[in-house]
Subunit: 428 residues, 2 copies
């Protein structure tokens, strides 16, 4: 697993990125240089100290001191001896260690909680998914369950001798990332839920940083760092769930906006004469392409499926729809086509605004990709600005339900690479 740095925090080194008049002190410089060396070895792979010196421009004495500290923090190790080049003398090589440093990503969704943990080098340590009816219970009960899942995972990591560098929780909603609070998660029925604070009071150690972020944003990071569009610096991630999630990578960075609310494509109004949305407005894009919309169109004679709140067990409903289609119900095919058409219309808007090279489809969009994509692509080309639409294509995600928790792990690892001093020096 190669760690890219999509959020661009790598750039905040050596005082750059600070505003004028805020001089760096020696501690800041030291921290930046530790990050510089760690990230360099992480991206480049195995290399000698002298290579790091030449490539970073830091002098050898400084490198020796920095490498020593990174070793003490369990982030780098030396292997070797080997030849630095065809004529070089034998030397030890530096590689990323981090086998005792873990990152945990947790996703809360309408019907499950997923936990995914790796060490710093990307080795998978935990990967579990537990069915939970978060939508049907009050937030307090869902949070208890969340704390329980996290507690169990932390204990497992502890047994493996891995210290946790941080936890990132993915939630389908608007998140106040600074405070770790879910401002609004309509499909969970959450409003102003202080997730980080609740987890802390449920016993998560104060030494472990907890962050909370939007699930689609984190999934977009996962697609960028390890999915079908890996390394594509301009991509849009769209996931069809009960609602619609959207995360945007632009210029190699996650688009956050002023409050972390960017990318709320599901609630852009596309049909003012349309259906009422769970958010209270009318004609949001979600009412055209969310799973609830597909259910409503495919099974108009059923009582349920009119509002997102009544689409329980999304996967069961999808399986049911597929079953009906296999039985030859023409309404199913028509509904899928209609979803594809509206997906293309919304995509035209996103392509005009973000000029992405790829639109990655997750959730149920990915499961129906072979039938949805051709319709959506045609609509995109008809309605989007030609120059941008012609250079953009759809791709189905292959990360499955793990995308958000994978992206959450990525965020924790990025934080360690940006500030290695967050990992304590060990007594070994």
């Amino acid at each position: 697993m190669k760690h890219t740095h999509p959020d661009g925090r790598a750039g905040d080194t050596r005082g750059l990125g600070r505003s004028a008049g805020a001089p760096a002190d020696q501690t800041t410089v030291r921290r930046s240089n530790l990050s510089l060396v760690l990230r360099h070895v992480s991206e480049r792979g195995q290399c000698s100290r002298s290579t790091v010196a030449v490539e970073t421009g830091l002098n050898k004495t400084t490198i020796t001191s920095l490498v020593g500290e990174l070793q003490a923090r369990g982030l780098l190790k030396e292997i070797g001896p080997q030849h630095a080049g065809s004529v070089g003398r034998p030397s030890l090589a530096l590689v990323l260690d981090g086998s005792r440093v873990g990152a945990l990503g947790v996703e809360v969704n309408v019907d499950y909680i997923a936990a995914f943990a790796t060490d710093l080098a990307g080795r998978v340590l935990v990967d579990r998914r537990i069915g939970v009816d978060a939508m049907g219970s009050d937030p307090a009960r869902a949070l208890d369950k969340l704390a329980q899942v996290i507690g169990r995972t932390v204990a497992d990591l502890d047994q493996l001798g891995v210290a946790l560098a941080g936890i990132t929780v993915a939630v389908p909603g608007l998140i106040d990332t600074a405070g770790g609070t879910v401002v609004l998660a309509p499909n969970l029925g959450w409003h102003q839920v202080p997730v980080a604070e609740r987890l802390r009071s449920a016993g998560i150690s104060p030494n472990v940083p907890i962050t909370v972020d939007n699930d689609a944003n984190l999934a977009a990071l996962a697609e960028y760092s390890s999915g079908v569009a890996m390394g594509t610096p301009n991509l849009v991630y769209l996931t069809g769930e009960v609602g619609v999630g959207c995360g945007i990578i632009s210029g190699g960075r996650l688009l956050n906006g002023a409050d972390g609310f960017a990318g709320e494509a599901g609630h852009v109004i596309v049909d003012p004469d349309g259906e009422e949305c769970g958010c209270g407005r009318v004609g949001c894009w979600e009412t055209k392409v969310g799973l609830a919309a597909l259910v409503r169109m495919a099974t108009p004679d059923d009582a349920y499926g009119v509002s997102p709140q009544v689409v329980r067990d999304p996967e069961e409903r999808l399986a049911e729809i597929e079953q009906r289609r296999a039985e030859g119900d023409p309404r199913v095919e028509a509904a899928v086509t209609e979803v594809g058409r509206w997906l293309g219309r919304g995509a035209a808007m996103l392509v005009n605004l973000f000029n992405p090279r790829v639109i990655v489809l997750g959730g149920y969009f990915a499961q129906l990709a072979d039938r949805i994509i051709p319709v959506a692509q045609a609509e995109l080309e008809r309605l989007g600005m030609t120059a941008a639409a012609d250079r953009c294509s759809f791709a189905a995600s292959n990360l499955g339900f793990g995308a958000a928790s994978r992206g959450a792990v990525h965020v924790v690892i990025e934080r360690v690479l940006s500030d290695p001093t967050t990992i304590a020096i060990r007594n070994t």
Copy 2:
């Protein structure tokens, strides 16, 4: 004038930002360090060599060598003597020089060409605007005129003893920035016009880099670096011209997208049953809020004003509309309200997607701001996601017609700060 660095290029120092496996050589390191020191002094203002050494983490020998080179390139100078601190010994202070290095921004629009030039420290050297009917003539004639304006400005700068570091040309259209080609500028009637190449063959020296960019993107940069929303890292700039221009600053950087086409908000389809747009599609946002739309709604009995192509002399048309309003024509007020309403609807989409803190209005939107903004703000709050809409407000630009050319100058200066070696060493 404080030089911020909205495009984040500052981050590309010391090998960061490079992909793995592309090691920096000594030349790259030297260039990055020159940039580091120059940008540091530029942002911080007057400071001593030892301060620069402490704050950048570079050693004093290196600083001496770097400062010497930056002086030879005419980018830094020393003033003094003065005290470094209350107990320091007297020392010379470094300040940005650049008085002999000029940056030129040129804007081509429907009815004028504007040229704006400053030195590296932001001192205005040239500021002129020439009425030209670019829309009514073929591209070749407009380009001749452009080359003529540039040639005259370069000669003026030459007389002042200022060497030109670069030229950036702002055009209202989709730009292939890599090739310096206008892919499509509907309101100018341009299609695949190789602007940079044509200027080169018209005699602009091959030593002067020429770049071409979208006018609204450049105006957004100007708003971020020196306008009403100066320093606001998440802002959307919207300008009402014959068409509608849009530029987005997100996380302190201009949003470009994969090909530089991002921010084409004017051609997002908002009313599929609406009017035909100049781009060939139906119901683009531009058909609701562009000046042509205002003219059409305010003066429905006139034969002209139906298509953007017939809105000649935009300012005259706007003056005419204001005149009618003063005479009590109720259709004018109704039309302005309708524009405000559609502006708010589009803004709700932009706020959901970009979560900006401010939407800066330029062009005719700014001129009608007191009547348009209240209507637009109400509509934004009604239709946008509450959490994001409540924290976003509209502001009228005060940069006037100079915004794009000002942003163009900013791009040239940024390039010098990112790579000081683009400025030749002088023999003095």
